[in-house]
Symmetry: C2
């Protein structure tokens, strides 16, 4: 498995960070079979954490259009149990949501004990979009970054296990994926006309993400910049990082104490 620390952000502009990993010396075939094994482990850990009902796990997925957020949800979490795992997708705020502060809708979707929640986009959009489109004064954006740090710090100090993944793709890879979505009628539904418009702001997005990732990266709520041009590698790295850190929580199945166990056993024997 790949070591998590290799994917901590650097001070470099994201434009200089590779979007294609070196496959960790694995062949494409090894990668797939290793992934299958890690994926099963992740499924087991999720069920264990659900049974123990002690830890709360929040997984934030961010990335530009076509970076693979939906694919990550589908493939990385394929072996999990829908009971205890929930996906919250944050699109353009509804009228109701827009009448609240920007953390209101995300806060209400955070996991309870035993639960995994995946945020497909998140409160980070509320910094990235206004930065790229200059719709908020710099001071207000700086305040939001401060808010987000305070919010995530509170979540973690109240027991949240927080993962933050930035799916990092190249501009060329995005062009290929947009083309694939239009060439394949089965993928038309995923094509958003606005994606072409947003692509024109590519450099601003890279700058904005470089900045916010630096400013919101902390040891206990780290960002991981995932080279995401290769989908198999992306899935492999993300699931490795999840498994490595979740194993450290040492989740355990709840057990009965001896007295209760003896009492139940006696009752059960009467039934059969």
């Amino acid at each position: 498995m790949i070591k998590e620390k290799s994917f901590y952000p650097t001070k470099k502009n994201l434009n200089k960070v590779p979007t294609l990993g070196d496959h960790n010396g694995l062949s494409k075939k090894d990668l797939k079979s290793d992934f299958a094994e890690i994926s099963e482990k992740l499924g087991d850990l999720q069920e264990l954490i659900f049974a123990e009902s002690k830890h709360k796990v929040l997984i934030i997925l961010q990335g530009l259009d076509t970076s693979g957020k939906d694919g990550t949800v589908k493939h990385v979490f394929a072996a999990t149990n829908p009971q205890g795992l929930r996906v919250a997708s944050f699109k353009r705020p509804t009228d109701l949501e827009a009448r609240h502060d920007y953390l209101w809708r995300v806060h209400s979707q955070t996991p309870e004990k035993g639960e995994f929640v995946i945020f497909n986009r998140s409160h980070y959009e509320d910094v990235i979009i206004p930065t790229v489109h200059q719709t908020l004064p710099r001071k207000h954006i700086a305040q939001r970054i401060e808010d987000i740090n305070a919010f995530e710090k509170m979540l973690v100090s109240e027991g949240m296990t927080l993962f933050k993944f930035f799916l990092h793709i190249s501009s060329h890879e995005q062009a290929l994926r947009l083309k694939a979505r239009i060439d394949n009628p089965k993928k038309h539904w995923k094509f958003e006309l606005s994606d072409l418009e947003e692509r024109k702001h590519w450099k601003s997005y890279q700058h904005a993400y470089t900045d916010i990732i630096q400013k919101t990266h902390h040891k206990d709520r780290p960002w991981n910049i995932i080279p995401a041009d290769d989908k198999d590698l992306r899935n492999y790295i993300i699931s490795s990082i999840l498994v490595e850190r979740l194993e450290k929580l040492k989740p355990k199945l709840p057990q009965f104490n001896k007295e209760t166990f003896a009492r139940i056993n006696k009752e059960i024997k009467k039934l059969l």
Copy 2:
């Protein structure tokens, strides 16, 4: 695939309805491989319905303790995409929930367009429990049955595709499953002390379910009584019923009209 109509309820007391099916002439091995195929079909249908964002699918699972509600969630929905599928488990109401009417918490969890929601227990508990334990006057229970019919009728007329499954097990099978939960330390967390207490009311539960299933069964919101002593057969039947009815919705992927398609195509060509 098994025909849905075979699992419509009869006027018989549930005590007389078989809890073990005849495997539809399939061997245990055929059953598993057929199930794998149907399970993939269900996964494809769910993704299609998510993409189309037109239909709302609600799946209610009811049954006595150990009847296999959790196992159904895990196995029948193994091939679905967590994006677009949600499980809502209704346990003893919280203080907040208890301060509302009994339909308040279930209504808020119903699916939106494109979504699948599984109810692990539901508003039916709010009739079954008071009937078995005689904690509400008969008149009030009759009123709740009327309420539920009105509520479900509204859901369906507003576009809900509603499935209601009763997982039907024998008293002997429940005893075996309770024993298995106590014999296997990995299953202790699933053992509820109250299950032994509730088991004493076995006959009352069968009567209460017989009654409410009759009174809330309608053509467009039918009950299916699933023989659930054999887990493989249970999964096979449930997924067959789901696939058969969902295919009839004829979900289709959204497509672009010719003009939009031509315009996008032109834009895309400039990118590469």
